[in-house]
């Protein structure tokens, strides 16, 4: 018979979980309920006394062309930054897994970027991307004005995609490396006995066996680039030039805290939440089928 330690007084148990519950309530449920409240009501022009307006806020949001543009931008941003981050992380992990010289250092070094807060990373990239003095300024020596994220929307988008990808690389790298190392060594050896070279083994053996990891990272990275890119956009481009980098999450901030349209912003954040939920659902529904779990 197993003996379990338990507390006779329930109040002690509640006391122990109270801090955690408090944090969840204050930072999750309460703001979420506020967003719901604001999304379905409208405040009077001079404050106070919210009025129930049903779906009016959502109608307003969806009839706004700039909002649809921000959805489209967010999708492009999510797809490209996730693709870039995951492919770079995979290449780095494959090299680290091959135990080439110095892999011990890189294995640890590659993880550091993940510890850097998005605004800090964005600040660093602001210097790199500076069209006059940054590293990217060298592009302008090829052709004047080739690179200028302050003027060109495409350049600005490129800049935030690169920054987001850079920040996400380390996270994906950890999981890819762990995934690669969990493939039994003898499988790779069997592959090389069967005559497959490095690239062939990568394509035929390692990638298919990494499928669960790839799928997991796809979901995480996509979600992250929809919801967690605010810091990068705010420091690097502030949504400009001419809204070219105004992602959904950044538009919520602009409309809410600069335009002071709390209700519209609240409706947008509900839409964003629904979009992320929907996307995750589709990923599980259609992509996971193709994943082979061993």
């Amino acid at each position: 018979m197993q003996k379990r330690a338990y507390f006779k007084a329930n109040w002690l148990a509640y006391l122990f979980i109270a801090p955690q519950l408090l944090i969840i309530f204050v930072f999750f449920y309460w703001p979420a309920s506020q967003a719901m409240y604001w999304a379905f009501t409208l405040e009077q022009p001079f404050g106070g006394g919210n009025q129930w307006v049903g779906l009016d806020n959502f109608r307003a949001v969806f009839s706004d062309e700039t909002y649809w543009a921000s959805i489209w931008r967010s999708i492009v941003f999510a797809a490209l930054s996730t693709g870039l981050a995951m492919s770079m992380a995979l290449v780095l992990a494959l090299f680290a897994d091959r135990q080439l010289r110095g892999y011990r250092f890189f294995r640890v070094g590659m993880i550091w970027p993940y510890a850097i807060a998005a605004p800090a990373a964005a600040l660093a990239f602001r210097f790199l991307f500076n069209p006059q003095s940054g590293v990217f300024a060298y592009l302008n020596t090829l052709s004047p004005g080739l690179w200028n994220p302050a003027l060109s929307g495409v350049d600005a988008m490129t800049a935030i995609i690169i920054t987001q990808a850079w920040k996400q690389v380390s996270y994906s790298f950890i999981f890819f490396l762990a995934g690669l190392q969990s493939i039994p060594r003898s499988l790779i050896e069997a592959g090389s006995m069967d005559g497959a070279r490095v690239m062939r083994r990568m394509l035929d053996l390692q990638l298919p066996l990494l499928a669960p990891t790839i799928f997991f990272l796809l979901v995480i990275n996509m979600t992250d680039s929809f919801t967690d890119s605010f810091g990068i956009v705010d420091i690097l481009t502030e949504g400009g030039p001419a809204r070219a980098t105004e992602l959904m999450v950044y538009k919520i901030y602009v409309d809410g805290f600069q335009g002071l349209d709390y209700s519209g912003a609240a409706a947008q954040s509900l839409v964003l939440m629904a979009l992320v939920i929907l996307m995750t659902f589709f990923q599980f529904r259609f992509i996971e089928r193709r994943v082979h779990y061993t």
């Binding site: 039994p184 003898s186 499988l187 050896e189 069997a190 592959g191 090389s192 006995m193 069967d194 005559g195 497959a196 070279r197 062939r200 035929d204 053996l205 298919p208 066996l209 499928a211 082979h292 061993t294």
Partner: protein, 389 residues
């Protein structure tokens, strides 16, 4: 002719040496079993032949081509791994055909070969299954099929049967033997299981701590172990070892601290008269003598026994050491009663106490040095004059 020549091969992991100068010549079509305890370097040696481990020093050549710098795929070897190492995301057919696919064989031809191989292994009903849907024995067969389908020059087996249950292991052992008879490819099989080793090997290589202790046919290794180590490792239960002194006339040896005498082949005994030796006695070579009167006959009282079905293992103590005897048949001595044992000179194995090597005389009956291949002589080349000071 796919013979393998291993010359002075060493393996270091950092400063740690795991294989110490191994010399071995494997002839074309031979079935070689490398036997040893875990950590003796046997798998490392096999993996160096396969090309999965770098060779630190020395040379390995296959078909007279030095393969030290060749990639595994260029060496013409196929390997069966201990855990089978099947590709979990591929079907049985894809697993077997992968090497051919990589080799660029066209699909129709490939499928034909895969089917033929699968059929010969009784896998033709399972071609569309994934490894996870197979039993242990079936996975083992797929692993074999993957090796066979390539028609390699050399088969390498890395303890392929150790994950199977006892019954299946015996069955697969037979199948491997049968397969070798039809394919006639040079095979190197690594195992720590002596029964497996004895039953499969054309020649047996016994390894210990990174060195070859003995190379020989299973009979040679069993009947003339080259060292105390081999004597103790081969045979179950293990050989009894007793420190003795050889009499001045060289016809018998007296067990230390007792008056018991053991007969010694006079031809060998002559050369080591008056020396101390270690005598090895196989539990199954000892017979219980009908009468227990002679004070010189080895007499032991057995205090407990283990029933084996085919006989009984009797355990006792002699000269302060544990002593085991295999009593065949159905009539066994009663516990506690002293039994005298009849021992022939041919079952008395003599070892040098300092070098722990077998004491032989060239051409003598028990020492088969003269009839053994060259590689064997190298490790068992202990002549009396050189070994005994």
């Amino acid at each position: 002719m796919a013979d393998i020549d291993i010359r002075k091969v060493e393996k270091f992991y950092g400063k740690n040496q795991v294989v110490h100068g191994v010399d071995l010549n494997i002839q074309d079509g031979e079935f070689i079993v490398i036997l040893g305890p875990s950590g003796c370097g046997k798998s490392t040696l096999l993996r160096m032949i396969a090309g999965l481990e770098e060779i630190s020093n020395g040379e390995i050549s296959i078909e007279n081509t030095v393969v030290n710098q060749l990639e595994p795929r260029e060496r013409g070897c196929a390997m069966v791994f201990q855990n089978y190492a099947l590709y979990p995301h591929m079907t049985v057919a894809q697993n077997i055909g992968y090497a051919l696919k990589v080799g660029g064989m066209r699909k129709a031809e490939r499928m034909q070969k895969v089917e033929a191989t699968a059929k010969s292994l009784g896998l033709d009903q399972l071609l569309d299954r994934k490894p996870a849907q197979l039993s242990g024995g079936q996975r083992q067969r797929v692993a074999m099929g993957r090796a066979i389908v390539r028609e390699p020059k050399v088969f390498l087996f890395d303890e392929p049967l150790s994950n199977l249950d006892a019954k299946l292991r015996v069955q697969m052992r037979l199948e491997i033997r049968r397969l070798h008879r039809t394919l006639k490819a040079t095979s190197v099989f690594v195992t720590h299981d002596q029964v497996e080793a004895m039953s499969l090997a054309d020649r047996l290589v016994v390894m210990n701590a990174g060195r070859i202790e003995q190379v020989g046919t299973p009979e040679e290794v069993y009947h003339a172990p080259a060292s105390i180590y081999v004597g103790g490792f081969i045979g179950s239960p293990a050989m009894n070892f007793l420190p003795c002194g050889v009499s001045d006339c060289g016809t018998f040896a007296v067990i230390d601290n007792t008056s018991f005498r053991l007969p010694v082949d006079p031809e060998i005994g002559r050369t080591i008269a008056g020396q101390s030796v270690i005598v090895g006695l196989r539990p199954e070579d000892l017979k219980i003598a009908p009468e227990a009167n002679d004070p010189n006959l080895l007499t032991v009282a057995f205090d407990f026994s283990e029933e084996q079905g085919s006989g009984r293992l009797m355990h006792g103590r002699l000269a302060g050491r544990d002593f085991v005897l295999h009593s065949a048949g159905r009539h066994h001595p009663a516990p506690g009663a002293p039994c005298s044992l009849a021992i022939g000179a041919e079952s008395v194995h003599l070892f040098d106490p300092t070098t722990e090597k077998r004491i032989t005389v060239a051409g003598a009956k028990t020492g088969q040095t003269g009839t053994l291949p060259a590689a064997f002589q190298k490790t068992s080349d202990v002549t009396v004059s050189g070994a005994i000071q």
